[in-house]
Protein backbone atom coordinates (compact mmCIF):
# COMPACT_ATOMS: atom_id res chain seq x y z
CA UNK A 1 0.00 0.00 0.00
CA UNK A 2 1.20 3.44 -0.87
CA UNK A 3 -0.18 6.65 0.58
CA UNK A 4 0.92 10.05 -0.61
CA UNK A 5 0.28 13.08 1.56
CA UNK A 6 1.04 16.43 -0.04
CA UNK A 7 1.23 19.40 2.30
CA UNK A 8 -0.17 21.81 -0.26
CA UNK A 9 -3.61 23.02 -1.09
CA UNK A 10 -4.58 24.86 -4.22
CA UNK A 11 -8.18 24.62 -5.39
CA UNK A 12 -6.94 24.50 -8.99
CA UNK A 13 -4.90 21.32 -8.66
CA UNK A 14 -5.59 19.69 -5.27
CA UNK A 15 -6.76 17.04 -4.79
CA UNK A 16 -7.34 16.90 -8.53
CA UNK A 17 -6.86 19.23 -11.43
CA UNK A 18 -9.74 21.67 -11.71
CA UNK A 19 -8.63 24.50 -13.94
CA UNK A 20 -11.27 24.47 -16.66
CA UNK A 21 -14.95 24.76 -15.79
CA UNK A 22 -17.94 25.30 -18.06
CA UNK A 23 -16.28 27.96 -20.22
CA UNK A 24 -13.95 25.61 -22.08
CA UNK A 25 -16.54 22.94 -23.08
CA UNK A 26 -18.93 25.73 -24.14
CA UNK A 27 -16.21 27.20 -26.33
CA UNK A 28 -15.16 23.82 -27.73
CA UNK A 29 -18.80 23.08 -28.56
CA UNK A 30 -19.50 26.43 -30.24
CA UNK A 31 -16.19 26.16 -32.10
CA UNK A 32 -17.13 22.67 -33.25
CA UNK A 33 -20.58 23.77 -34.47
CA UNK A 34 -18.98 26.73 -36.26
CA UNK A 35 -16.42 24.42 -37.86
CA UNK A 36 -19.19 22.14 -39.08
CA UNK A 37 -21.17 25.16 -40.30
CA UNK A 38 -18.20 26.46 -42.31
CA UNK A 39 -17.48 23.10 -43.92
CA UNK A 40 -21.17 22.65 -44.76
CA UNK A 41 -21.73 26.11 -46.20
CA UNK A 42 -18.72 25.65 -48.48
CA UNK A 43 -19.79 22.12 -49.35
CA UNK A 44 -23.34 23.20 -50.21
CA UNK A 45 -22.13 26.18 -52.27
CA UNK A 46 -19.49 24.13 -54.08
CA UNK A 47 -22.17 21.51 -54.80
CA UNK A 48 -23.53 23.78 -57.51
CA UNK A 49 -27.22 24.03 -56.66
CA UNK A 50 -28.55 27.46 -55.73
CA UNK A 51 -28.59 27.67 -51.91
CA UNK A 52 -31.91 28.38 -50.22
CA UNK A 53 -32.46 31.64 -48.38
CA UNK A 54 -31.85 29.92 -45.01
CA UNK A 55 -28.60 28.35 -46.25
CA UNK A 56 -27.40 31.72 -47.58
CA UNK A 57 -27.94 33.48 -44.26
CA UNK A 58 -26.68 30.54 -42.21
CA UNK A 59 -23.22 31.14 -43.67
CA UNK A 60 -23.00 34.10 -41.26
CA UNK A 61 -23.60 31.83 -38.24
CA UNK A 62 -20.04 30.45 -37.74
CA UNK A 63 -18.61 33.91 -37.10
CA UNK A 64 -21.34 34.61 -34.55
CA UNK A 65 -20.93 31.25 -32.85
CA UNK A 66 -17.16 31.69 -32.64
CA UNK A 67 -17.59 35.21 -31.26
CA UNK A 68 -19.82 33.77 -28.52
CA UNK A 69 -17.27 31.02 -27.88
CA UNK A 70 -14.45 33.54 -27.67
CA UNK A 71 -16.51 35.34 -25.05
CA UNK A 72 -16.55 32.13 -22.99
CA UNK A 73 -12.80 31.75 -23.50
CA UNK A 74 -12.26 35.29 -22.35
CA UNK A 75 -14.23 34.59 -19.17
CA UNK A 76 -11.91 31.67 -18.46
CA UNK A 77 -8.72 33.75 -18.61
CA UNK A 78 -7.42 34.60 -15.17
CA UNK A 79 -5.46 37.58 -16.53
CA UNK A 80 -8.04 39.13 -18.84
CA UNK A 81 -6.14 42.37 -19.38
CA UNK A 82 -3.44 40.36 -21.14
CA UNK A 83 -5.77 38.64 -23.63
CA UNK A 84 -4.16 40.60 -26.47
CA UNK A 85 -0.90 38.78 -25.77
CA UNK A 86 -2.21 35.86 -27.84
CA UNK A 87 -1.77 38.05 -30.89
CA UNK A 88 1.78 39.17 -30.26
CA UNK A 89 3.13 35.65 -30.58
CA UNK A 90 2.84 32.54 -32.64
CA UNK A 91 4.08 29.43 -30.82
CA UNK A 92 4.00 26.46 -33.16
CA UNK A 93 4.24 23.96 -30.28
CA UNK A 94 1.07 25.31 -28.68
CA UNK A 95 -2.29 24.33 -30.26
CA UNK A 96 -3.84 27.17 -28.27
CA UNK A 97 -1.69 29.59 -30.24
CA UNK A 98 -2.72 27.92 -33.53
CA UNK A 99 -6.32 28.21 -32.40
CA UNK A 100 -6.04 31.88 -31.48
CA UNK A 101 -4.81 32.64 -35.01
CA UNK A 102 -7.32 30.32 -36.71
CA UNK A 103 -10.09 32.25 -34.93
CA UNK A 104 -8.97 35.60 -36.32
CA UNK A 105 -8.49 34.21 -39.84
CA UNK A 106 -11.80 32.33 -39.97
CA UNK A 107 -13.80 35.44 -39.05
CA UNK A 108 -13.16 37.52 -42.21
CA UNK A 109 -13.05 34.48 -44.49
CA UNK A 110 -16.38 33.04 -43.31
CA UNK A 111 -18.01 36.49 -43.33
CA UNK A 112 -16.80 37.15 -46.89
CA UNK A 113 -18.09 33.74 -47.96
CA UNK A 114 -21.48 34.59 -46.43
CA UNK A 115 -21.51 38.04 -48.02
CA UNK A 116 -20.61 36.65 -51.43
CA UNK A 117 -23.32 34.01 -51.15
CA UNK A 118 -26.16 36.52 -50.77
CA UNK A 119 -28.32 37.38 -53.73
CA UNK A 120 -28.14 40.77 -55.39
CA UNK A 121 -29.98 43.32 -53.24
CA UNK A 122 -30.54 40.88 -50.38
CA UNK A 123 -28.44 43.00 -48.08
CA UNK A 124 -29.08 46.60 -49.07
CA UNK A 125 -26.23 48.19 -47.19
CA UNK A 126 -24.16 50.34 -49.55
CA UNK A 127 -21.13 50.37 -47.25
CA UNK A 128 -20.72 46.63 -47.81
CA UNK A 129 -20.72 46.89 -51.61
CA UNK A 130 -16.89 47.00 -52.00
CA UNK A 131 -16.51 44.04 -49.64
CA UNK A 132 -19.13 42.12 -51.58
CA UNK A 133 -17.22 42.85 -54.80
CA UNK A 134 -14.09 41.32 -53.23
CA UNK A 135 -16.12 38.37 -51.93
CA UNK A 136 -17.54 37.70 -55.40
CA UNK A 137 -14.24 38.14 -57.20
CA UNK A 138 -12.41 35.60 -55.02
CA UNK A 139 -15.42 33.39 -54.31
CA UNK A 140 -13.95 30.03 -55.47
CA UNK A 141 -10.79 30.64 -53.44
CA UNK A 142 -12.72 31.86 -50.38
CA UNK A 143 -15.06 28.87 -50.45
CA UNK A 144 -12.10 26.49 -50.40
CA UNK A 145 -10.27 28.49 -47.72
CA UNK A 146 -13.47 28.39 -45.65
CA UNK A 147 -13.59 24.61 -45.98
CA UNK A 148 -9.97 24.18 -44.91
CA UNK A 149 -10.27 26.68 -42.04
CA UNK A 150 -13.46 25.00 -40.83
CA UNK A 151 -11.72 21.63 -40.77
CA UNK A 152 -8.73 23.22 -39.04
CA UNK A 153 -10.97 24.80 -36.43
CA UNK A 154 -12.75 21.51 -35.71
CA UNK A 155 -9.50 19.55 -35.57
CA UNK A 156 -7.70 22.01 -33.32
CA UNK A 157 -10.42 21.94 -30.65
CA UNK A 158 -9.48 18.31 -30.07
CA UNK A 159 -5.72 18.67 -30.59
CA UNK A 160 -5.78 21.40 -27.95
CA UNK A 161 -6.57 18.79 -25.32
CA UNK A 162 -4.63 15.89 -26.85
CA UNK A 163 -1.24 17.62 -26.68
CA UNK A 164 -1.54 17.98 -22.90
CA UNK A 165 0.26 14.67 -22.40
CA UNK A 166 0.12 14.87 -18.62
CA UNK A 167 -3.63 14.09 -18.77
CA UNK A 168 -4.09 10.45 -19.79
CA UNK A 169 -7.68 10.70 -21.07
CA UNK A 170 -6.79 13.52 -23.46
CA UNK A 171 -3.49 12.06 -24.53
CA UNK A 172 -4.72 10.48 -27.75
CA UNK A 173 -4.13 11.61 -31.32
CA UNK A 174 -7.69 10.46 -32.05
CA UNK A 175 -9.13 13.32 -30.01
CA UNK A 176 -8.56 15.75 -32.91
CA UNK A 177 -10.46 13.63 -35.48
CA UNK A 178 -13.11 12.82 -32.85
CA UNK A 179 -13.84 16.47 -32.13
CA UNK A 180 -13.70 17.27 -35.85
CA UNK A 181 -16.36 14.71 -36.84
CA UNK A 182 -18.42 15.61 -33.80
CA UNK A 183 -18.19 19.25 -34.89
CA UNK A 184 -19.20 18.36 -38.46
CA UNK A 185 -22.18 16.41 -37.17
CA UNK A 186 -23.18 19.18 -34.74
CA UNK A 187 -22.78 21.77 -37.49
CA UNK A 188 -25.09 19.72 -39.73
CA UNK A 189 -27.58 19.39 -36.89
CA UNK A 190 -27.50 23.14 -36.32
CA UNK A 191 -28.16 23.82 -40.02
CA UNK A 192 -31.02 21.28 -40.02
CA UNK A 193 -32.86 23.36 -37.42
CA UNK A 194 -33.57 25.98 -40.10
CA UNK A 195 -35.85 26.07 -43.13
CA UNK A 196 -33.64 24.48 -45.79
CA UNK A 197 -34.83 23.42 -49.23
CA UNK A 198 -35.85 19.76 -49.59
CA UNK A 199 -32.76 18.95 -51.59
CA UNK A 200 -30.45 20.63 -49.06
CA UNK A 201 -32.18 18.92 -46.16
CA UNK A 202 -31.62 15.59 -47.86
CA UNK A 203 -27.94 16.32 -48.48
CA UNK A 204 -27.26 17.65 -44.99
CA UNK A 205 -29.08 14.73 -43.35
CA UNK A 206 -26.94 12.28 -45.33
CA UNK A 207 -23.87 14.28 -44.31
CA UNK A 208 -24.94 14.10 -40.66
CA UNK A 209 -25.55 10.37 -40.84
CA UNK A 210 -22.08 9.74 -42.27
CA UNK A 211 -20.53 12.03 -39.66
CA UNK A 212 -22.34 10.23 -36.82
CA UNK A 213 -21.24 6.83 -38.12
CA UNK A 214 -17.62 7.99 -38.42
CA UNK A 215 -17.83 9.56 -34.96
CA UNK A 216 -19.03 6.28 -33.45
CA UNK A 217 -16.15 4.46 -35.14
CA UNK A 218 -13.55 7.00 -33.96
CA UNK A 219 -15.01 6.90 -30.44
CA UNK A 220 -14.71 3.11 -30.42
CA UNK A 221 -11.10 3.25 -31.64
CA UNK A 222 -10.34 5.92 -29.04
CA UNK A 223 -11.68 3.72 -26.22
CA UNK A 224 -9.89 0.62 -27.53
CA UNK A 225 -6.64 2.55 -27.84
CA UNK A 226 -6.94 3.93 -24.32
CA UNK A 227 -8.01 0.66 -22.69
CA UNK A 228 -5.10 -1.23 -24.23
CA UNK A 229 -2.41 1.36 -23.47
CA UNK A 230 -0.28 1.70 -20.33
CA UNK A 231 -1.43 1.92 -16.74
CA UNK A 232 -2.35 5.62 -16.91
CA UNK A 233 -4.38 5.09 -20.10
CA UNK A 234 -6.22 2.13 -18.60
CA UNK A 235 -7.13 4.20 -15.56
CA UNK A 236 -8.40 6.97 -17.84
CA UNK A 237 -10.42 4.50 -19.93
CA UNK A 238 -11.91 3.23 -16.69
CA UNK A 239 -13.51 6.63 -16.11
CA UNK A 240 -15.75 5.97 -19.13
CA UNK A 241 -15.90 2.18 -18.80
CA UNK A 242 -17.15 1.56 -15.28
CA UNK A 243 -15.96 4.70 -13.49
CA UNK A 244 -17.70 7.93 -12.45
CA UNK A 245 -18.35 9.23 -15.99
CA UNK A 246 -19.68 5.98 -17.40
CA UNK A 247 -23.40 6.62 -16.96
CA UNK A 248 -23.34 10.17 -18.34
CA UNK A 249 -21.02 9.27 -21.23
CA UNK A 250 -22.99 6.27 -22.47
CA UNK A 251 -26.46 7.68 -21.89
CA UNK A 252 -25.95 11.29 -23.04
CA UNK A 253 -23.23 10.94 -25.67
CA UNK A 254 -23.42 7.46 -27.16
CA UNK A 255 -27.13 6.63 -26.88
CA UNK A 256 -28.99 9.96 -26.83
CA UNK A 257 -26.41 11.94 -28.80
CA UNK A 258 -25.40 9.46 -31.49
CA UNK A 259 -27.38 6.21 -31.70
CA UNK A 260 -30.92 7.63 -31.33
CA UNK A 261 -30.53 10.58 -33.76
CA UNK A 262 -28.82 8.25 -36.25
CA UNK A 263 -31.81 5.92 -36.12
CA UNK A 264 -34.29 8.80 -36.30
CA UNK A 265 -32.56 10.27 -39.34
CA UNK A 266 -32.39 6.85 -40.98
CA UNK A 267 -36.13 6.31 -40.38
CA UNK A 268 -37.01 9.78 -41.66
CA UNK A 269 -35.09 9.09 -44.88
CA UNK A 270 -36.28 5.52 -45.35
CA UNK A 271 -39.97 6.13 -44.61
CA UNK A 272 -40.08 9.66 -46.06
CA UNK A 273 -41.27 11.03 -42.74
CA UNK A 274 -41.48 14.75 -42.13
CA UNK A 275 -38.26 15.82 -40.43
CA UNK A 276 -38.57 17.19 -36.90
CA UNK A 277 -36.13 19.17 -34.80
CA UNK A 278 -35.71 16.21 -32.42
CA UNK A 279 -32.78 14.44 -34.10
CA UNK A 280 -30.74 17.66 -34.64
CA UNK A 281 -31.38 18.78 -31.05
CA UNK A 282 -30.23 15.39 -29.74
CA UNK A 283 -27.07 15.61 -31.85
CA UNK A 284 -26.34 19.10 -30.53
CA UNK A 285 -26.94 18.08 -26.91
CA UNK A 286 -24.76 15.01 -27.45
CA UNK A 287 -21.97 17.13 -28.95
CA UNK A 288 -22.05 19.42 -25.95
CA UNK A 289 -22.15 16.49 -23.50
CA UNK A 290 -19.15 14.90 -25.25
CA UNK A 291 -17.04 18.01 -24.72
CA UNK A 292 -18.28 18.66 -21.21
CA UNK A 293 -17.57 15.08 -20.11
CA UNK A 294 -14.16 14.97 -21.79
CA UNK A 295 -13.01 18.27 -20.31
CA UNK A 296 -14.23 17.22 -16.84
CA UNK A 297 -13.02 13.60 -16.95
CA UNK A 298 -9.60 14.58 -18.31
CA UNK A 299 -8.96 16.63 -15.20
CA UNK A 300 -9.53 13.76 -12.77
Amino acid sequence: MNELDVARYSHLIDPKLHIWGWEIPVYLFLGGVAAGGMVLSSWLALGGARPSRAARWLAFAPAGLVALGMGALFLDLSYKLHAWRFYLAFRWTSPMSWGAWILVVMMPVSLLVALGGLEEGELSWPALAPLRAVALRYRPLLLRANLVLGAGLGLYTGVLLSTLGARALWSSALLGPLFLVSGLSSGAAFVLLFRLSEEERHRVTRFDQVAIAVELAVLLLFLVGLATSGAAGKDAAGLLLGGPFTASFWSLVVIAGLAVPFLLEALETALNLRATALAPLLVLAGGFALRFIFVAAGQV
Binding site: M1, N2, E3, L4, D5, V6, A7, R8, Y9, S10, H11, L12, I13, D14, L17, I19, W20, D76, L77, S78, Y79, K80, L81, H82, A83, R85, F86, L88, A89, R91, T93, S94, M96, S97, G99, A100, T163, L164, G165, A166, R167, G230, A232, Q299
Partner: protein
Protein backbone atom coordinates in the same frame (compact mmCIF):
# COMPACT_ATOMS: atom_id res chain seq x y z
CA UNK B 1 29.62 25.23 -21.61
CA UNK B 2 26.44 26.94 -20.47
CA UNK B 3 25.02 26.26 -17.03
CA UNK B 4 22.38 23.60 -16.36
CA UNK B 5 20.93 24.27 -12.94
CA UNK B 6 19.55 21.35 -10.98
CA UNK B 7 18.69 20.34 -7.45
CA UNK B 8 19.29 17.25 -5.39
CA UNK B 9 16.85 16.51 -2.57
CA UNK B 10 18.24 14.11 0.02
CA UNK B 11 15.16 12.18 1.16
CA UNK B 12 17.20 10.51 3.92
CA UNK B 13 18.01 13.85 5.51
CA UNK B 14 14.65 15.58 4.98
CA UNK B 15 12.43 15.60 8.06
CA UNK B 16 9.54 17.54 6.49
CA UNK B 17 9.98 20.62 8.71
CA UNK B 18 8.52 22.92 6.00
CA UNK B 19 11.43 25.32 6.48
CA UNK B 20 11.94 25.41 2.69
CA UNK B 21 8.27 26.27 2.18
CA UNK B 22 8.36 29.15 4.67
CA UNK B 23 11.67 30.45 3.33
CA UNK B 24 10.23 30.44 -0.19
CA UNK B 25 7.02 32.17 0.83
CA UNK B 26 9.03 34.86 2.58
CA UNK B 27 11.64 35.31 -0.13
CA UNK B 28 9.17 35.38 -3.03
CA UNK B 29 6.15 36.94 -1.32
CA UNK B 30 4.06 33.92 -2.26
CA UNK B 31 0.39 34.81 -1.61
CA UNK B 32 -2.03 32.89 0.54
CA UNK B 33 -3.24 29.82 -1.32
CA UNK B 34 -0.19 29.90 -3.55
CA UNK B 35 2.85 27.66 -3.34
CA UNK B 36 6.18 27.28 -5.05
CA UNK B 37 7.44 24.31 -3.06
CA UNK B 38 5.78 21.83 -0.76
CA UNK B 39 6.41 18.75 1.35
CA UNK B 40 5.26 15.32 0.18
CA UNK B 41 5.22 12.34 2.53
CA UNK B 42 4.89 8.95 0.94
CA UNK B 43 4.12 6.08 3.27
CA UNK B 44 4.60 2.57 2.01
CA UNK B 45 3.38 -0.65 3.61
CA UNK B 46 0.79 -1.72 6.16
CA UNK B 47 1.08 -1.09 9.90
CA UNK B 48 3.32 -2.10 11.62
CA UNK B 49 5.53 -2.71 8.55
CA UNK B 50 5.86 0.82 7.26
CA UNK B 51 8.42 2.96 5.57
CA UNK B 52 8.16 6.64 4.84
CA UNK B 53 9.86 8.95 2.40
CA UNK B 54 9.71 12.70 2.92
CA UNK B 55 10.43 14.94 -0.01
CA UNK B 56 10.69 18.65 -0.51
CA UNK B 57 9.10 19.10 -3.95
CA UNK B 58 8.98 21.99 -6.41
CA UNK B 59 9.02 22.65 -10.16
CA UNK B 60 11.40 20.13 -11.74
CA UNK B 61 12.76 22.67 -14.24
CA UNK B 62 12.46 19.98 -16.88
CA UNK B 63 14.91 19.82 -19.75
CA UNK B 64 11.93 19.09 -22.04
CA UNK B 65 9.24 21.21 -20.33
CA UNK B 66 5.73 20.43 -21.60
CA UNK B 67 4.44 23.63 -19.98
CA UNK B 68 6.67 25.75 -22.23
CA UNK B 69 5.43 23.87 -25.31
CA UNK B 70 1.81 24.39 -24.26
CA UNK B 71 2.13 28.14 -23.61
CA UNK B 72 0.46 30.09 -26.45
CA UNK B 73 2.15 33.42 -25.78
CA UNK B 74 5.72 32.54 -24.87
CA UNK B 75 5.15 33.63 -21.25
CA UNK B 76 6.42 30.25 -20.04
CA UNK B 77 9.98 30.04 -21.25
CA UNK B 78 13.36 28.51 -20.54
CA UNK B 79 15.56 31.11 -18.88
CA UNK B 80 19.23 31.15 -17.96
CA UNK B 81 20.67 27.80 -16.94
CA UNK B 82 17.61 25.83 -18.07
CA UNK B 83 15.37 27.39 -15.42
CA UNK B 84 11.70 27.28 -16.45
CA UNK B 85 10.19 30.70 -15.81
CA UNK B 86 7.01 32.69 -16.45
CA UNK B 87 7.12 36.20 -17.91
CA UNK B 88 4.22 37.79 -16.04
CA UNK B 89 3.69 40.52 -18.62
CA UNK B 90 2.96 37.91 -21.31
CA UNK B 91 0.79 35.54 -19.26
CA UNK B 92 -2.94 35.54 -20.08
CA UNK B 93 -3.89 33.05 -17.36
CA UNK B 94 -5.17 30.52 -19.89
CA UNK B 95 -3.90 27.72 -17.62
CA UNK B 96 -2.70 25.48 -20.47
CA UNK B 97 0.66 25.18 -18.65
CA UNK B 98 -1.06 23.97 -15.48
CA UNK B 99 -2.82 21.26 -17.50
CA UNK B 100 0.45 20.35 -19.24
CA UNK B 101 2.56 20.07 -16.08
CA UNK B 102 2.79 16.47 -14.80
CA UNK B 103 3.91 17.71 -11.36
CA UNK B 104 1.26 20.22 -10.31
CA UNK B 105 4.01 22.77 -9.86
CA UNK B 106 2.06 25.86 -10.93
CA UNK B 107 -0.70 27.95 -9.45
CA UNK B 108 -2.63 31.06 -10.46
CA UNK B 109 -1.47 34.12 -8.55
CA UNK B 110 -4.34 36.29 -7.25
CA UNK B 111 -3.13 38.99 -9.67
CA UNK B 112 -4.06 36.67 -12.54
CA UNK B 113 -0.78 35.36 -13.90
CA UNK B 114 0.59 31.85 -13.38
CA UNK B 115 3.39 31.59 -10.85
CA UNK B 116 5.89 28.90 -9.94
CA UNK B 117 9.34 28.13 -8.53
CA UNK B 118 12.15 30.05 -10.26
CA UNK B 119 15.03 28.29 -8.47
CA UNK B 120 15.35 31.81 -7.00
CA UNK B 121 17.02 32.97 -10.20
CA UNK B 122 17.27 36.47 -8.73
CA UNK B 123 19.49 35.07 -5.96
CA UNK B 124 21.35 32.59 -8.15
CA UNK B 125 22.31 35.40 -10.54
CA UNK B 126 24.07 37.07 -7.59
CA UNK B 127 25.92 33.86 -6.72
CA UNK B 128 23.62 33.00 -3.80
CA UNK B 129 21.75 29.75 -3.24
CA UNK B 130 17.95 29.56 -3.58
CA UNK B 131 16.13 30.55 -0.36
CA UNK B 132 14.92 27.00 0.32
CA UNK B 133 18.43 25.60 -0.01
CA UNK B 134 19.94 28.25 2.22
CA UNK B 135 17.41 27.71 4.98
CA UNK B 136 17.25 23.91 5.03
CA UNK B 137 18.31 22.93 8.55
CA UNK B 138 19.17 19.34 7.66
CA UNK B 139 21.04 20.30 4.51
CA UNK B 140 18.94 17.98 2.46
CA UNK B 141 18.77 20.40 -0.47
CA UNK B 142 21.72 20.90 -2.80
CA UNK B 143 21.53 23.33 -5.70
CA UNK B 144 24.11 23.65 -8.43
CA UNK B 145 25.25 23.42 -12.00
CA UNK B 146 25.24 20.03 -13.69
CA UNK B 147 27.48 21.38 -16.44
CA UNK B 148 30.23 21.71 -13.85
CA UNK B 149 31.39 18.18 -12.97
CA UNK B 150 32.87 19.42 -9.69
CA UNK B 151 29.72 21.15 -8.42
CA UNK B 152 28.27 19.57 -5.25
CA UNK B 153 25.10 18.53 -7.09
CA UNK B 154 27.09 16.80 -9.87
CA UNK B 155 29.18 14.94 -7.30
CA UNK B 156 26.11 13.87 -5.31
CA UNK B 157 24.48 12.49 -8.45
CA UNK B 158 27.65 10.56 -9.24
CA UNK B 159 27.94 9.01 -5.82
CA UNK B 160 24.34 8.48 -4.67
CA UNK B 161 21.36 6.50 -5.93
CA UNK B 162 18.58 8.78 -7.03
CA UNK B 163 15.20 8.85 -8.71
CA UNK B 164 13.19 11.51 -10.51
CA UNK B 165 9.41 11.94 -10.30
CA UNK B 166 7.24 10.67 -13.15
CA UNK B 167 10.13 9.84 -15.43
CA UNK B 168 7.58 8.40 -17.89
CA UNK B 169 6.35 11.92 -18.64
CA UNK B 170 9.36 12.35 -20.92
CA UNK B 171 9.90 15.84 -19.53
CA UNK B 172 13.42 15.03 -18.28
CA UNK B 173 12.99 16.57 -14.81
CA UNK B 174 16.06 18.17 -13.23
CA UNK B 175 15.23 17.75 -9.54
CA UNK B 176 16.78 14.52 -8.29
CA UNK B 177 15.66 12.67 -5.16
CA UNK B 178 18.52 10.92 -3.39
CA UNK B 179 17.58 7.70 -1.62
Amino acid sequence: MSARFAMAVDTVRCVGCNGCVIACKTENAVPEGGFRDWIAQEVHGVFPDLSMQIRSERCNHCAAPSCVDACPTGASHVAQGGIVAVARNKCTGCKACIAACPYGARYVHPAGYVDKCTFCLHRVAKGKAPACVETCPTRSLTFGDLADPESPVSRLLRSRRYAVLREESGNRPQVFFLA
